[in-house]
Every structure is written in structure tokens, then in C-alpha cells.
């Protein structure tokens, strides 16, 4: 049998497996702590059937870190899953209401703040601003946090790069920043109109809604990718 589990992965599996297993044995959680068993078994034998099925391994750095310099998207994604679970639980405990990760409502609040600077009465009377409430809430701070998290990660692993026009854009549409800016701006208007109508974006529908198995999120995500794929293929078709 080939081994496909590297030493760090192995240590994490065995350690977390023991902790998970100890929880139901001490009557601290329900029976699901038993998922520690396969973690320990796979760790001991250095072989994970799931890795073998997908075709990845964690023996070499290349196995975990597939895309050039970052982390494996499987690992970073799984950690986002853990973050989402922890965040729903913590918001329920500390805010009294289960709150799921999202981003697009924050843009409504940002627009509300901007309009407030010119005409506060208008914002106070607008039905949509009243519905979503213009304030620095949990999600607003989350969106600000995304900026700082990305800044922290990119500056500490030297992947921070000032970019005015993406390479693939330059190859297709030329180096002008004006076209990129215009396309970005107009695309932004259309995307946000859509996100507000659909009541979510790839964070709110794509991650949080799918995790909750919401019907609307399956439909929304399929349309996001479907229409996105049509337009992207039109923009980047080979002439």
C-alpha cells in the first residue's frame, strides 16, 4: 500500500483524532466524536483512501501546496468551513441570533452612509435602507476584516503585488487602465443589482446558503456560474 500522508498531516490527524475520541468518552459531546477513529487509523497507516480517490497527497510540499506558492485550496477551503461553523455558533451565543457569513448587504449600508452625507432625510425615509438598517454591523466589520486579512497574508508571504491591469486582461484587451476601470465599474453596478435581487452573493448564497442546504442558494449559485460562464466565454473567446 502506498503512503499518501505526510508527517505533519499525520501528526495533526493523530492528535485531533485522540482529542475527538476523548470527548464522547468523557461524555462531553454526542457520538460524533467517534469520527476521531478514522483520523487515527489513517494517520497510523499513513494512507488516506479519500486522498487516493481524489488523486492528491500530503507527502511532499507540492502535494499540499498545489498552486504555486499558496496553500492547497482544499485545505484553505476546509478551514473556511470550520470558520463558518465557529462563526455561526459564536454569533448565536454573543449576538442572540445565528448570523451567517455574507458580504453584499454591506454595500447597501456603504451606499446608505454615502447618501446620508448628502441627504440624511432621504435615507431615513427609503424603504430599503430602513429594511437593511444603515449601521456598522457584524457583516460590515467582517468585510473590512477581509481587506486586512488579505493584506496580512499577502505581505507576510511576499505575494502582495500592485496590479493595475491583470495579465490575461492585458493580453485580450490591451494595457489601458481606463477600459479595465470602466468594465470593473459597470460590472460592479450590474453584479450588485443582481446580488440584491437574489438576496446574496457567492459568500451569502454560495458558501452560507449551500452549507444550510437552502433551495434558493442552489438556484442562485447555478445561475451565478451559468451566466458568468457565458459572458466570460464571450469576452475571452479566441478570435
Amino acid at each position: 500500500m502506498n503512503t499518501n500522508i505526510g508527517s505533519l498531516d499525520r501528526q495533526i490527524r493523530i492528535l485531533s483524532g485522540i482529542i475527538l475520541l476523548a470527548l464522547p468518552l468523557m461524555n462531553m459531546v454526542g457520538p460524533w466524536g467517534w469520527i476521531g477513529v478514522p483520523l487515527i487509523v489513517t494517520g497510523v497507516y499513513k494512507f488516506c483512501p479519500l486522498y487516493s480517490f481524489i488523486g492528491v497527497n500530503s507527502c511532499s510540499i507540492e502535494g499540499v501546496v498545489k498552486n504555486a506558492d499558496g496553500w492547497s485550496p482544499y485545505i484553505a477551503g476546509a478551514l473556511v468551513g470550520v470558520l463558518a461553523i465557529a462563526s455561526v455558533y459564536l454569533t448565536t451565543v454573543y449576538m442572540g441570533k445565528s448570523t451567517y457569513i455574507g458580504a453584499s448587504t454591506t454595500f447597501v449600508r456603504a451606499a446608505g452612509f454615502a447618501v446620508q452625507g448628502v441627504d440624511p432625510v432621504h435615507v431615513a425615509e427609503n424603504a430599503y435602507y430602513l429594511k437593511e438598517r444603515v449601521k456598522l454591523d457584524w457583516q460590515f466589520l467582517l468585510v473590512i476584516g477581509i481587506f486586512f486579512g488579505a493584506l496580512l497574508s499577502s505581505t507576510t508571504d511576499k505575494s502582495f503585488k500592485l496590479e493595475s491591469v491583470p495579465d490575461i486582461w492585458r493580453d485580450q484587451f490591451g494595457p489601458s487602465i481606463v477600459y479595465r476601470a470602466l468594465s470593473s465599474f459597470i460590472g460592479g453596478i450590474i453584479a450588485m443589482m443582481g446580488a440584491r435581487l437574489a438576496d446574496g452573493c457567492p459568500s451569502g448564497h454560495g458558501l452560507s446558503g449551500m452549507m444550510q442546504l437552502s433551495v434558493s442558494s442552489f438556484v442562485a449559485l447555478a445561475l451565478f456560474f451559468g451566466f458568468g460562464a457565458i459572458v466570460a466565454n464571450l469576452m475571452y473567446r479566441k478570435i
Partner: protein, 176 residues
């Protein structure tokens, strides 16, 4: 800063950190996913969904949290989903990743962010109109797939997990 705000910013910093580490904040990755040439975003999102889905169901079964479904409003979700897809491809970022992209130096994303703030403002002005038109075309309410199909949620989640893992295998085999 209130507890709510502190919780929000901490969650956001970790979220942004992980988005950047997976390298999904880049224009190339977003367009790559829409062209089905680079599946990094799918790998990232579906991995998050597999883990999050089981954890959230366990917490719901233990009565520790509640589900907050978004409404299955026919006009809103279908028209909105299509519009979002179009705008996403033209902009090259989604709302969350645009902010993160600026954080890692891709400053052209700022025009997308400005466009989205304008779009949100326009939506707020047009809301009374949408409410009596698009948003009134029929609403199935805040439903989940388990209720809609009358199948246990653990069964649905397990089927999805198997499907997603099978997709991962396909992506790796094709080198996407």
C-alpha cells in the same frame, strides 16, 4: 467597539487570510473558474461547503444554532442570479473577493467596489418598483432542500459530499 463588531472583524480577518492563502482573490482565478480552465475556486468553495454543511447540521440538531434560509423568490433569485453572473464576469470579482483583492495589491478592484456601492444605491432607489414587479412573481419562502424533497438532511449532505469529492477527482485527473 462592541462585541458584535469585534466578532465581525476577527471573522473577516481570518476569512480574508484564508481567501488570500488559497489564491482565490485574483482576477485570473475568478475568470479561470468561469472559463472552466482553473478550478481552484470550485475546490475552495466546495471544500468549505462539505465541512461547513456537516458542522452546521450537527449544531442545528443539538439546538445550538438556527438556520436562516434566504427566500426562494422566483423573480428575485432567477433574474438576480443571472444579472449577478453577468456582472461578475465583467468585473472579475465578487463582492467579498473584491475587497480582499485590494488588500493583496490588486488595486483595480477598487473600481468594482465603487460600482457595487453605486449599484446598491440604485437598487435602494428602485426597491419600491422591484417590490411590486420582479419580487412579486411568486415566492416559495425560506425553504431548505430537505423539506422540499422530504429527505433527511444528513442523507442530502452525504450525497452532496460524495458528488463534490468525485468532482475533485475529476479536476485533479484533468489537471484543472
Amino acid at each position: 467597539m462592541s462585541t458584535e463588531q469585534l466578532l465581525g472583524i476577527c471573522t473577516g480577518i481570518i476569512f480574508g487570510f484564508l481567501l488570500q492563502k488559497a489564491r482565490v482573490l485574483r482576477y485570473e482565478k475568478q475568470i479561470g473558474a468561469l472559463l472552466f480552465k482553473d478550478m481552484t475556486i470550485f475546490k475552495f468553495m466546495l471544500s468549505a461547503i462539505i465541512v461547513g454543511m456537516f458542522g452546521i447540521m450537527a449544531l442545528v440538531d443539538l439546538n445550538l444554532i438556527t438556520l436562516i434560509h434566504k427566500s426562494m423568490n422566483m423573480g428575485g433569485v432567477i433574474l438576480g442570479g443571472a444579472l449577478f453572473g453577468i456582472g461578475w464576469a465583467v468585473m472579475g470579482f465578487c463582492p467579498g473577493t473584491s475587497i480582499g483583492a485590494i488588500g493583496e495589491g490588486r488595486w483595480h478592484a477598487i473600481f468594482g467596489v465603487l460600482g457595487m456601492v453605486v449599484g446598491a444605491g440604485l437598487y435602494a432607489e428602485m426597491y419600491p418598483f422591484y417590490k411590486v414587479t420582479v419580487l412579486s412573481w411568486g415566492d416559495f419562502g425560506k425553504i431548505g432542500l430537505p423539506e422540499a424533497l422530504a429527505v433527511n438532511h444528513w442523507v442530502i449532505a452525504s450525497v452532496l459530499a460524495v458528488l463534490f469529492i468525485w468532482l475533485f477527482r475529476m479536476f485533479e485527473r484533468k489537471g484543472l
